[in-house]
């Protein structure tokens, strides 16, 4: 399992691996929004939590189809499925690798982008916390969507359509945490909901994704 994690990380850091793609997209969103909305601090501060979360979500979406499609094309998914590794474990590991190359850098870069969007001071901590707790759910839900569409040529659009509705609760609660945190309000409830989504998705979706993969590999 660790070997698979290291391989996926190594692949994403090598040429054409797509590391930084999500991060660059996230940066672009955060830079372009102030240009589009105008430099008024008040407006930007109000929409900053939502923009940052939408940006993070779309950045995650961008690299989802790579989770299984590349392995499917070169035949290594067949070989992984026949290897002594449980397919559920392989799915969980690949989702973890996806999070490490997209979700984690997004989380770490988010305070800088919060600055660009005039995020109120009190919000920074909760922005990082909510992304750290919420983005793993994006990766694991995305892995499930990628498993469903793995055999399809140009399945990217379908993947987006499948996955976006599943992302909505994470987006709502994640942005709510930041909004409340920035306004100095109580954040307990949305934070707990966000953590619950991540925990539930991590516990259940690897099994669903592995089942979908088995059907798609036939």
């Amino acid at each position: 399992m660790i070997a698979l994690l290291l391989r996926d990380l190594r692949l994403s850091f090598r040429a054409g691996g797509g590391f930084g793609l999500g991060l660059a997209f996230f940066l672009l969103v955060a830079v372009l929004v102030p240009l589009g909305v105008g430099p008024e601090g008040g407006t930007l501060a109000k929409i900053a939590p939502g923009i940052l979360w939408v940006g993070a979500l779309l950045a995650c979406l961008l690299s989802l189809d790579r989770i299984f499609a590349l392995d499917f094309e070169d035949g290594s998914l067949d070989l992984l499925a026949t290897a002594p590794l449980p397919l559920e474990g392989a799915v969980a590991v690949k989702a973890a690798a996806h999070w490490l190359v997209t979700g984690l850098p997004l989380t770490l870069a988010s305070p800088v982008l919060g600055l660009l969007l005039f995020l109120p001071e009190r919000g920074y901590l909760w922005l990082v916390v909510s992304l750290a707790i919420g983005t793993p759910a994006l990766s694991i839900i995305g892995a499930f969507g990628a498993a469903l569409t793995v055999g399809l040529k140009r399945g990217g659009l379908l993947l987006g359509l499948l996955v976006l509705p599943l992302y909505v609760p994470t987006l709502i609660f994640g942005a709510e945490v930041v909004k409340r945190g920035a306004a100095g309000m109580e954040i307990g409830t949305p934070l707990a909901m966000l953590a619950a989504i991540t925990a539930g998705a991590t516990a259940l979706l690897p099994f669903a994704a592995a089942a979908a993969l088995r059907i798609n590999l036939r």
Partner: protein, 214 residues
């Protein structure tokens, strides 16, 4: 250690392509599957490898004993030869010694630090076959192992295969060319061809979905 297939029926794309296939493969034995294109050699091998369920019949094989090699080699273009093999060695828990040995035997040692993207088709194939050695599994299930290999490499592969059989392994090979294995038995698949949907595919989609969880 024995692979026993009895009365097996396999389907591709919802159509039963082969039915009533029975054979037995014991340690030290090699079985060559032959048949025209589309007869279902790959489908049969994928069923044996556990990638798809059988329509009917049974496959009995000791657990953790099959190593499957498909048409595609499953290589990562941006990883080196050593890295590609080391990954599979780690997955199968065989260690670095197996990697060095496999590279030696498939004549890849000189290419160890070369990235798979820069290998020729034949070299990629040799690397794909070296993966079999790395798995340490006794029963090899091979789908067209000699595609894009030159004569010398085919000979090398036959030699590796013979060493594998001599050490108590077994191999099931779908191939069109003569591997130079006089001891190998040949199973002609054409007589087992099932024309059209002679057998109803049990249960359809819902059952196969349930089966995926089982």
């Amino acid at each position: 250690m024995e692979l026993v297939v009895s009365d097996l029926a396999v389907e591709r794309g919802g159509l039963v392509v082969l039915a009533g296939v029975s054979f037995r493969l014991a340690a030290g034995g090699a079985l060559v599957l032959r048949g025209p294109n589309g007869v279902g050699k790959t489908t049969l091998l994928r069923t044996l490898a556990g990638l798809q369920p059988a329509v009917a019949g049974s496959v009995s094989v000791p657990p953790e004993s099959l190593a499957y090699a498909s048409h595609a080699d499953g290589l990562k273009a941006v990883l080196t030869v050593t890295e590609n093999l080391a990954f599979w060695a780690a997955v199968y828990g065989t260690g670095a010694g197996a990697v060095a040995g496999a590279m030696q035997r498939m004549n890849l040692a000189a290419l160890a630090e070369r990235r798979a993207a820069n290998l020729s088709a034949g070299q990629k194939r040799r690397l794909g076959l070296a993966r079999l050695l790395v798995t340490g599994r006794p029963i090899w299930v091979l789908d067209e192992p000699t595609v894009s290999l030159d004569a010398a490499s085919v000979e090398l592969f036959a030699w590796v295969l013979r060493a594998h059989l001599a050490s108590g392994g077994a191999a099931l090979i779908a191939t069109h060319i003569d591997l130079g294995l006089p001891e190998a038995e040949v199973l002609e698949l054409a007589p087992f061809r099932a024309d059209g949907p002679a057998l109803a595919v049990a249960g359809g989609f819902d059952d196969s979905f349930d089966g995926a969880f089982g």
